[in-house]
Amino acid sequence: MGLAMLGAVSQGILWGIMVLGVFITYKLLDIADLTVDGSFALGGCVCAVLVVGGVNPIVAILAAMLAGMVAGAVTGFLHTVFEIPAILAGILTQIGLWSVNLRIMGKSNTPLLNFDTIFSQMTDLTGLPSNVAAIIVGIVVAVIIIVGLYWFFGTEIGSACRATGNNEAMVRALGVNTKVTKMIALMLSNGLVGLSGGLICESQKYADIGMGTGAIVIGLAAIVIGEVLGRLTPGKLRAFGSRLTAAVVGSVVYFLIRAIVLQMGMDANDMKLLSAIIVALALCIPVVWEKFQLKRSYARSLKSASPEGTTAEGGR
């Protein structure tokens, strides 16, 4: 049980890098970018093929990130230049990537059994158990990326990207080409997703054509969980840095929940349904709650108005 939990934590952190990517498009740009499923697998495939080809595992992961950025650029190109709606542009790229990924690997599955990965190097170097090594590598990468994103979104270009998701008309009126900012955000986002795919591939020691399926839902679920946790914590977790951290923590919690329900005997194949339900509920609850509040306040106003109403009636 403990070992499974440790595994879940390490998986959660490594997938958390992908969640940061989804955070950029979903939360900052206000786009649900479905490229993610494809670019995650792309990162994994590129990384696996390179590692098998004898490339340094760190270089392979960087290449996975670059590949993800290219995938993001394709979606960005379709969306900004040809004005295809973002969701559809993402789906097109995702579908196309499935074939691309198969071409890259030449088969549907590439094992890395006897090859060095950054995780095996870390275990060899420190003598730590592999799960702990994975957690350490994951935390280091996550911290670097969170700091990097915090810096980037504080710069002039980064501010313009954030504002693009907020109010496109205003950003254009202030002289920023929103096509460029969207492109930057999509490339950055999918770059992180590809990076995460590469890390997962090296940690699980294989890449699989289906490894990205449902990644977007995992990303959204993790963001939602992170937000709820952020709201439950006292103090100001609205600051940008803590929102990013919350997204990674949300990912860890997601994988812990997953490990627990699997331990309790749930079929692994049902996990996608559970994820979808979590996200759907998280999106439904605020809407339902608001409607309920409106109805309640109307009912209250009726109640407070009715005694006067009856006297007026009676007086007549």
Partner: protein, 264 residues
């Protein structure tokens, strides 16, 4: 400063919804002109603003600004020269960002964005000072998210943002129409003050005929995509709402005013 010559724009050309929004429109603004624009619904006032700002491409004609032909420039490219305030108070600011972040983005209008910090420490004082001039107490709330401000406060902030880097031309598209009368008056006072202080060439669309007469040194009236009446100087100062209504009937053969214009 601004010259439109033979500018035309038709929306949905060739369909049942065809709308000739600007028809061979000519207009010249001298430097320092403060021109108010009035006209009925669909007269082409907003289209005029959008064409100058580059929101949509024009079909024909040329637009020059301070000797630069901007007819084919994209909206962000033109932004370098233009300050804009919109009718909708939500449109001019980014709600999820702080007041200071909004101002810093406006300060960088027309400059190439780099990887330098989006807001530098030295800017803070300048913004606090400029916000103080608005007299709304916003200088104490620099890190407040703009979404928490009222419509009037947001519109005043947008006005400040539009003029933070001096624009060659200030475009005000019914920027007080969505505000309550008291707030609208306040924002208009600020407009007058800022325009006078920085001697801005200004084009202001309004539905309010009294405002159109009271503000600025020149007034134009639009009808069916053309400028049908153009009056400036002493003649404009002695103008009354009644004159305007009469003038409109004369030129167009119809009624100018709708209820909204008469009541405001």
């Amino acid at each position: 400063m601004l010259t439109l010559s033979h500018v035309s724009k038709t929306f949905n050309a060739g369909t049942i919804n065809e709308k000739r929004a600007l028809v061979d429109c000519n207009l010249h603004l001298a430097p320092g002109d403060f021109v108010t624009v009035i006209g009925g619904n669909g007269a082409g006032k907003s289209t005029l603003m959008n064409m100058v700002a580059g929101v949509y491409p024009i079909d024909a004609g040329t637009i020059t600004l301070d000797g630069i032909n901007i007819s084919q420039l994209s909206e962000p490219a033109r932004a370098k020269y233009l300050g804009r305030v919109f009718q909708d108070p939500m449109m001019g600011t980014a709600a999820d960002m702080q007041i200071i972040e909004n101002l810093a983005m406006a300060k960088r209008r027309g400059r190439t964005r780099t990887l330098a910090w989006g807001v530098t420490r030295s800017e803070k004082e300048e913004y606090a000072e400029r916000l103080h001039e608005l007299g709304l107490g916003l200088e104490k709330r620099l890190t407040t998210k703009v979404g928490l401000l009222s419509g009037g406060q947001r519109q005043a902030l947008t006005l400040l943002m539009a003029t933070l880097t001096k624009p060659k031309l200030l475009l005000l598209d019914e920027h007080t129409a969505a505000l309550d009368p008291k707030t609208a008056a306040k924002v208009l006072d600020l407009t007058e003050k800022i325009v006078a202080e920085h001697q801005l060439t200004t084009l202001m669309v309004t539905h309010n005929m009294n405002d159109a007469i009271r503000l600025g040194n020149r007034l134009i009236m639009m009808h069916e995509g053309r400028v049908i009446y153009d009056i400036a100087g002493d003649e404009k100062r002695s103008l009354t709402v009644k004159d305007l209504l009469q003038k409109f009937e004369e030129v167009s053969g119809g009624e100018l005013a709708n209820d909204r214009m008469l009541l405001s």
